[in-house]
């Protein structure tokens, strides 16, 4: 809300600077976003009258003007095409400055001394909204009579500070200069005055000129109308145009400007209809028919439904109530008779209508916050008064006032003790009462309670919490002493899962991985990019109804694409080694269309590439993590084919019967989609499963007392025998005394027959209570060898 300070001062005494006012208003709840000074940078530019114009002796396109600034006459050279004798223009004198830091000095222009510069609107930093004609190609010509020599800032109303307030949605009363003035008066403890509203009228009877029928009073609690005859459409006076422009509203003509002026001044949106275009001279306030059409003032045709409230005459819709008027009854230069509307509409209906049509206006943005029903009546009389003062027409006697809403006072009883409790203060009810009275509440202290009458412009106040806020903000938030909660000491702690996740991150960071954070939404085409093309393999996804773009329109079910993107980006930026992980959420809908919340699964995704890196680098990191979680012993890596991964270098991680994740080298075609030429290895694990199964209880086990006996075992097996199979077999036949099994060589070459390979293991045996004898170890070793032969056809090498 833009509030020009000069206008504000009409309703409240302000004797502090704009900065001081802004600060104090912010501290009582009206946050100031900025102070604009239109005339900033303009110094020593005055109003001058062009007396004579002569051609420049040395330049065809220039002229020499003789300019009178009241005290002196100056010779000024200009190239402007529109100068004429008798014009009043802005004159930048020697030593003047213009916006942007330009300095104007006297100088010789083609041999003729020029003692300053005549200014265009652009040079003064003005647009047509600030002053009509400011944007023409030429000198700014002033249309009004100003004293010669007057500072141009004063003449054009640029010497005003415009304070921009941030108004929160609970205070529509502050979407008006008067509302801000009220707040300022309380903040500065100075006097506030409402404009004195007096309408002469006296002629005729409004009821013979027009009628109002409110068919849907639930959506329109109050509708006031006045009639103005013999209207003279003309520009509104300079002072009104200046105020409107400063507040950000474009001046149009006197009638429309008055309705906008009253909206800005009192916070009550108004509308003016061309009465002669109103069929039956009757206003009908009703819901639209389903499919009804209306062309609004912006010349767009709107398709309406029966939830929307329209203003109509006996034949057709003539306006979207509370949002925008219709083009068919627009005020034009030919308008002779006007019907003024000032009404209260249901806030929810206005908001929904505006939203559905994608049409927001100054009007709708006020109505949707809930306006004061009393204001409708006051505003229409104010508008009538201004019409009389501006001599824009003859106001007919009387107001049509269809009021179906309650005008009763709203009363509220609150405990002032409770207010102190909430705030942590110890104020007397008298102090609270004084504050509330300044805010125009009626207050009576009755024992522990304050009996209040809520001012009608405060629709937002409902209960004790609201009253507490009123007291606190005026008393001063800074005066509330800081305390720490009383009561028993509480125990701050993390849950088991939260602790485990922190530890998992530590392990991963220690393994050389950087934690990354990527977006949770992605493109539906991402599955194709990671090699999943069969529609049966594409998972169900949660789809966003109003995404920012197609490529951010589904919630992710995997983090593999976003990790690939991170790797790709780093590769493009020249990094030879990149190792990252993310712990995030996968969104899995239980059924589509979605009618319950999806499952949110916690997943850990790791991705890396680097010189000489392969599957085993990542497997090693996973094994470290599993060991830390106490899950390594039961873990099994089972080869699996998956379209995103290399068919021969991928495994599923199984913990018991649960599939806990996948690890593998990314399929070269998928890597290519991400411009990655090197081997990329990735894993995606179900963190919920891992953490549920994790064994995080540590317990001491005594160190071995007796030495171990080691034996090597070299086997020849068929080429496609897996190390996992061999090891499982060794453990199965090894018995309790087998302590360690370590693969130290795999060889396929000259001494091994085709189709076979040699695998060499170091086995370690130990008993807890004795040193093992060679005989015992041999026996164990033999049974292992026999077992391997039987199960896998393995032969000793």
């Amino acid at each position: 809300m833009l509030v020009p300070l000069k206008w504000l001062k009409e309703y409240v005494d302000i004797d502090v600077s704009a900065e001081e006012l802004a600060h104090r208003m912010t501290m009582t709840g009206s946050n100031v976003e900025g102070i604009h000074r239109k005339g900033e940078g303009i110094e020593n530019v005055v109003v001058g009258k062009i007396l004579t114009i002569e051609p420049h002796p040395n330049a065809d396109k220039l002229v020499v003007c003789n300019v009178d600034t009241g005290t002196r006459q100056y010779r000024i050279v200009t190239g402007a095409p529109n100068v004429e004798a008798g014009q009043l223009v802005p004159v930048a004198l020697d030593g003047a400055t213009l916006p942007g830091g330009h300095k104007i000095n006297r100088s010789k222009i083609r041999g003729v001394e020029s003692w300053g510069m005549l200014c265009s609107g652009e040079e003064l930093g003005l647009t047509d909204e600030d002053y009509p004609g400011a944007e023409i190609d030429g000198i700014l010509v002033l249309k009004e009579e100003y004293p010669l020599g007057m500072d141009i800032r004063e003449a054009l109303g640029l010497d005003d500070d415009i304070i921009e307030f941030e108004i929160t949605s609970n205070r529509p009363d502050c979407l008006s200069v008067i509302g801000i003035a009220r707040e300022a008066a309380v903040t500065l403890d100075s006097s506030f005055r409402l404009p004195k509203i007096e309408v002469k009228a006296g002629v005729g009877d409004v009821n013979t000129e027009a009628a109002v029928k409110v068919k849907d009073p639930d959506l329109c609690p109050r509708y006031c109308a006045r009639v103005v005859k013999d209207v003279k459409i003309a520009p509104s006076p300079r002072w009104m145009q200046q105020r409107l422009s400063a507040a950000g509203i474009r001046p149009i003509n006197n009638i429309v400007d008055i309705t906008n002026y009253v909206m800005l001044e009192m916070g009550q949106p108004m509308h003016a209809f061309d009465l002669d275009k109103l069929t039956g001279k009757t206003i009908v306030v009703r819901r639209a028919y389903d499919g009804e059409k209306l062309v609004t003032l912006d010349d767009k045709e709107r398709l309406l439904n029966d939830n929307m409230l329209v203003i109509a005459d006996t034949e057709k819709a003539i306006g979207l109530a509370g949002v925008m008027g219709g083009a068919n009854t627009e005020i034009s230069d030919d308008t002779r008779n006007v019907l003024l509307e000032s009404a209260t509409f249901d806030r929810g209906s206005i908001r929904m209508t505006a939203k559905t049509l994608g049409l927001r206006s100054e009007s709708s943005s006020r109505f949707e916050k809930g306006l004061d029903i009393n204001n409708a009546r006051a505003a229409i009389d104010r508008a009538a008064q201004l019409i009389e003062e501006l001599d824009a027409g003859t106001v007919v006697e009387g107001v049509i006032d269809v009021c179906n809403g309650s005008l009763d006072d709203r009363v509220l009883e609150v405990s002032w003790k409770r207010i102190n409790e909430l705030l942590g203060l110890d104020l007397s009810p008298e102090i609270m009462g004084n504050i509330l009275k300044k805010l125009e509440f009626k207050v009576e202290i009755k024992g522990d309670n304050l009996e209040l009458v809520i001012p009608s412009f405060r629709q937002d106040v409902e209960g004790v919490a609201d009253i507490a806020e009123e007291v606190a903000r005026i008393y001063g938030y800074d005066k509330i002493p800081m305390t720490l909660m009383e009561g028993t000491v509480s125990r701050g702690r993390r849950t088991r899962k939260q602790k485990l996740i922190d530890m998992v991150k530590d392990v991963l960071v220690g393994s050389g991985l950087y934690e990354v954070v990527t977006y949770s939404f992605t493109s539906p085409r991402v599955y194709e990019t990671i090699g999943i093309t069969d529609p049966q393999d594409i998972p169900k996804t949660v789809r966003i109804a109003n995404p920012l773009g197609e490529d951010q329109s589904i919630m992710r079910t995997t983090q593999i694409p976003s990790i690939l993107e991170v790797l790709s980006r780093n590769r493009n930026r020249g990094l030879p080694l990149c190792q990252v992980f993310e712990i995030g959420t996968a969104f899995l809908p239980k059924s589509l269309p979605l009618n319950e919340l999806p499952e949110e699964k916690s997943i850990l995704t790791i991705g890396e590439y680097g010189p000489g890196m392969d599957y085993y680098d990542l497997k090693g990191k996973i094994e470290i993590l599993l060991k830390f979680l106490g899950l390594l012993n039961g873990a099994e890596f089972v080869p699996r084919v998956h379209p995103t991964f290399h068919p021969g270098r991928t495994a599923i991680l199984k913990l018991g019967s649960a599939e806990a994740g996948i690890i593998g080298e990314i399929h070269p075609k998928v890597a290519e989609n991400y411009q990655l030429e090197e081997r990329v290895i990735m894993a995606e694990l179900d963190l919920d499963i891992l953490l549920d199964m994790a064994k995080d209880q540590r317990r001491y086990r005594p160190l071995p007392k007796y030495p171990a006996v080691t034996r090597d075992l070299a086997l020849v097996v068929s080429k496609d025998t897996l190390a996992g199979q061999v090891e499982r077999c060794i453990w199965e036949f090894g018995g309790e005394l087998l302590e360690k099994v370590e693969l130290f060589d795999v060889y396929a070459g000259s001494q091994i027959p085709e189709g076979y390979k040699s695998m060499a293991y170091a086995l370690s045996y130990r008993a807890a209570d004795r040193t093992l004898t060679d005989e015992e170890v041999n026996a164990l070793h033999d049974s292992i060898v026999k077992g391997l032969e039987k199960t896998l056809g393995a032969k000793l090498r």
Binding site: T26, G29, S169, E368, E469, G487, D502, Y514, P593
Partner: protein, 339 residues
């Protein structure tokens, strides 16, 4: 024989003195004291001696043996010492050359700052609650006193899945869920990812992170709100940090406030970072609205509470001087490595 022994002693001594290698020393030992050694051979002839001479010669021989062994030992230690010193000298390296690289990763700056925030509040006795990112409209808005069709919804552009399911715009819905399940006292912070339909630029991202907090008990006052958040600010930004509370409006708190901290760059003097105001806004807060307590199944006559919410990405950027929020999601390793 005696002379022969003395001769051997003298000869051995000379040879020993000239020895300069451990190998040579070993050979010497074998040569003089070994099974076929010179001293041993002489002693073989002891059988030809008279009974009076034998003990004397025997004693001398042993004495010489002992003496030589001692001298051998001394020489050995000396030679070993020399060998060691030589080895150490040969092993001298250029200690200024680069060390071997060991790879260690890092946590994301958002995690680092979140851990710090968690520690501060855990230290004040708070627990950490978490909730779903895809939420019901009811928990995200209605139960927070933002009814359907209310202008307050405009301040948070929302991503919708269906009419009643959306991507949460703040972590407050989780607070309602906790209130429904738990009786007061409640002291929680709720960190998490949130979503708002904002176009991406240097200060806005459609995905960002918040940390909200909720305290509900008997006799909680606005003074407690100020005190708790002031402690947080000082722990987070330094003990010289001052806080300022300005009245504001949120539908779910009443009274409401926004809290500023004194600018960490200029300590309140005014600079570009704080737009020359000396203050930086870091969070919104207020006393929990009685209607919200009721939605949570808590009696506003018996209990009161305060709530607060801050943007984690914003605070991370402030803390580290990061000037573009997009950097947090680009994950350039050179960026992540700085924290």
């Amino acid at each position: 024989m005696q002379t022969k022994l003395e001769q051997i002693r003298k000869e051995a001594q000379d040879v020993l003195d000239k020895l300069d290698s451990l190998d040579g020393l070993n050979n010497f030992r074998i040569e003089y004291l070994g099974k076929k050694g010179k001293l041993t051979q002489i002693l073989r002839g002891m059988g030809n001696l008279s009974p009076e001479e034998r003990p004397k010669i025997g004693q001398l021989a042993n004495e010489i043996r002992t003496y030589l062994e001692e001298r051998i030992e001394i020489k050995r230690q000396l030679l070993e010492e020399e060998a060691l010193n030589q080895r150490l000298k040969d092993e001298t390296i250029d200690v200024t050359m680069p060390g071997k690289t060991y790879h260690r990763g890092k946590l994301h700056p958002l995690s680092i700052v979140l851990n710090e925030i968690k520690d501060i509040f855990l230290g004040l006795g708070f627990e950490i609650a978490e909730g779903p990112e895809v939420e019901l409209d009811y928990y995200n808005f209605e139960a927070l006193n933002i009814p359907k069709n209310h202008p307050a919804r405009d301040t948070q552009d929302t991503f919708y899945i269906t009419e009643n399911i959306l991507l949460r715009t703040h972590t407050s819905p989780t607070q309602i869920r906790v209130m429904e399940k738990q009786d007061p006292p409640i002291k929680i912070i709720v960190p998490g990812r949130v979503y708002r339909s904002d176009a991406v630029d240097a200060t806005h991202s459609p995905i960002f992170h918040q940390v909200e907090g909720l305290v509900i008990d008997k006799n909680i006052t606005m003074g407690d709100l100020k005190g708790t958040l002031d402690v947080f600010a000082k722990e987070m930004f330094g003990h010289r940090t001052r806080t300022q509370f300005r009245p504001h409006h949120f539908p779910f708190t009443e009274p409401s406030a926004e809290m500023d901290v004194s600018c960490t760059t200029c300590d309140g003097a005014g600079c570009r970072v704080c737009s020359y105001t000396g203050w930086i806004e870091i969070l919104g807060a207020g006393m929990v609205h009685p209607k919200v307590l009721m939605y949570g199944g808590i009696d506003p006559e018996k209990y009161s509470g305060f709530a607060f919410g801050m943007g984690l990405d914003r605070i991370t950027n402030l803390k580290y001087g990061i000037d573009d929020i997009r950097l947090l999601f680009e994950n350039d390793i050179r960026f992540l490595d700085q924290f």
